[in-house]
């Protein structure tokens, strides 16, 4: 990088809000990345888990808040705790099991033992610390934790506004609509695909609200669909959808408005492609109204709800980003299904997930390729700007914020506006 490259002290050069232009340094400046990890990932609610991933008392999973490795766990009363995975003595991780069940966490180095709430319970030979050693001051570093409809978030910011306020009414409403794909059952995580991509985390943040790329990047996926499904995914030509800024960096990309509320118009006939599945569910003894609800839910919702800074509720799965370095981001595609629902329905959901998502999917590898191409491309022309101004010309006032054409970059502008606000603090 040359010395006259815009630095993060000049936020307008990094994101010019009026013209929706992004500076190349946004993807490549390691100093800027360090600043983002402090000012963004330690100053807002960050998604860490779905409650079904650690369902029981003593269940835990490892996660991340920005660069910080954390443990998410339920204590004996079922209360959720999140703490940094680092012993308060000499910093070793106290857990390296990705997911499981335990009654405590013990550091492997000198045996300091912590309770499920992160408190320091016992340490070998405490006498050498003297009489005034206060165990209460040496618990694992805790984060504030709150949940909404099964989605668990944590924050390092002590005085962060409550989660529901940060999300806002519109986001909460869309989360509730998204969770209807439980088909009357609680939503449960069924598994996940994980892959790391040589790209800046904001490339991913943009992509979850980018419908414009779909017919180009995913043409080969579209060609493997039946006619009815292909038509449904042809949301750019149909032009009925929209993208809307929901505030605080969040946005909604409504690709298939007919599937905004999965409970609407449930009397409609079951589509031909789902008839075989419907029969399997009938054969398991479910009444017809429930069969229709479950079959409708199998296909997922008709929108991507994008939450700043790290999770998207994407049609039928959760997409989570974890920044690793300025040029590397980990991606998880978390498959969800119906907890206690018919096996046939969950199998159908899993097969749909495998079809598009993950390292061997018919969609994700092509996404990963273009994301990497962005990172490679930004090595050149560093004075050029990245354009996120698509759809500004015909944007209107939506019920919650600016609303643009389905292919508009309204959601990216929402995210960058929030980015700039946090970075300016």
């Amino acid at each position: 990088m040359s010395l006259d490259m815009p630095k993060f002290s000049d936020l307008d050069a990094l994101y010019d809000e009026e013209n929706a232009l992004v500076g190349t340094a946004m993807y490549e400046d390691p100093d800027l990345f360090d600043e983002e990890m402090e000012k963004i990932f330690k100053n807002t609610w960050v998604w860490i888990a779905h409650e079904s991933e650690f369902p029981d008392k003593g269940s835990f999973k490892l996660s991340n808040v920005g660069l910080e490795p954390v443990i998410v766990v339920r204590d004996r009363k079922g209360k959720i705790h999140c703490m940094v995975n680092r012993c308060r003595h000499r910093a070793a991780t106290v857990c390296e099991v990705k997911k499981g069940k335990t009654s405590s966490f013990q550091c492997p180095y000198h045996g300091w033992g912590y309770g499920l709430d992160g408190s320091l319970r016992a340490l070998p030979y405490p006498e050498q610390y003297g009489d005034d050693f206060d165990k209460a001051q040496h618990g694992l570093l805790k984060l504030r934790t709150e949940s909404y409809n099964g989605m668990v978030f944590a924050t390092f910011k002590e005085d962060m506004e409550p989660l529901e306020e940060f999300l806002g009414e519109a986001v909460c409403r869309y989360i509730d609509l998204f969770m209807k794909q439980g088909g009357g059952f609680p939503v449960k995580v069924l598994g996940e695909h994980q892959f790391t991509v040589p790209m800046n985390w904001k490339v991913q943040l943009e992509n979850t609200t980018d419908a414009y790329h779909f017919p180009v990047v995913h043409k080969s996926f579209m060609q493997t669909l039946d006619g009815q499904t292909e038509e449904m995914f042809d949301f750019l030509d149909k032009g009925k959808g929209w993208v809307e800024d929901l505030g605080n960096g969040h946005s909604i990309m409504m690709m298939i408005p007919e599937l905004e509320d999965l409970d609407a118009n449930l009397g409609a006939p079951i589509p031909a492609r789902f008839e075989e599945l419907a029969q399997e569910i009938r054969d398991e003894g479910y009444p017809e109204d429930q069969v229709k609800k479950i079959v409708r839910a199998v296909g997922g919702a008709g929108f991507n709800l994008n939450l700043f800074p790290n999770v998207s509720f994407s049609l039928a799965f959760f997409r989570v980003l974890t920044p690793i370095s300025v040029e590397q981001t980990d991606i998880r595609h978390i498959a969800i299904g119906m907890d206690g629902g018919p096996d046939a329905a969950n199998q159908a959901r899993i097969r749909l997930h495998e079809h598009f998502q993950g390292p061997m999917g018919f969609g994700s590898p092509d996404d990963a390729e273009v994301w990497e191409r962005i990172q490679r491309g930004t090595k050149g022309g560093e004075d050029l700007k990245i354009l996120v101004n698509r759809g500004m010309v015909d944007e209107v006032d939506g019920p919650n914020g600016p609303r643009g054409h389905i292919s508009a970059e309204t959601g990216m502008r929402a995210a960058y506006k929030m980015w700039k606000g946090l970075m300016a603090q």
């Binding site: 990705k98 069924l190 598994g191 996940e192 695909h193 994980q194 892959f195 790391t196 991509v197 990047v217 043409k219 080969s220 996926f221 060609q223 493997t224 980990d330 498959a335 096996d343 969950n346 199998q347 899993i350 097969r351 997930h353 495998e354 079809h355 993950g358 390292p359 061997m360 018919f362 994700s364 590898p365 092509d366 990963a368 390729e369 273009v370 990497e372 191409r373 490679r376």
Partner: protein
Amino acid sequence: MTEMSKIDTKSLLADVTAFIWAEGAMLDAREYDEWLDLWTDDGLYIMPIGDTVDFQNSVNLCYDNAKMRKDRIGRFHQGFSISSAPPALTVRTLSRFRIEGTEGDLVTVTCAEHVIEDKFGRQRTWAGNIAYTLKSTEGGFKLHQKIIRLLNSDGMLNSFSYLF
């Protein structure tokens, strides 16, 4: 399963090894249409995540029946998939063959696979354990089930534009 002591393992081992090496050479050479012909109609090509054995009810990296295999190869061929046009190039080594058992016309073989891929001037290495179920036919072996377990299947992977 037939007891191992009753099988002429030496001759069978040579036969299955020759078949699996030929299959591996086909995949490196991207002779995918020929590869599709190696399969039984109800065969399954599976790359599980973690140590699950209940593939049907688990999220796998892939769970390909005949239609999915055909669609996957179609995607590689048609030139619209940016990740596979061009794809990464691969060189693989298959070794440590062991016949686990036979039952009727089916033989189960396990082996180790190392794949090195090259794209964008960057090489990546993958290691996996494969369990083959081969079906003996008049025209030679057919692939009936191929289960590839990458060592880090439940960790952070990259995206793949080829087959294991």
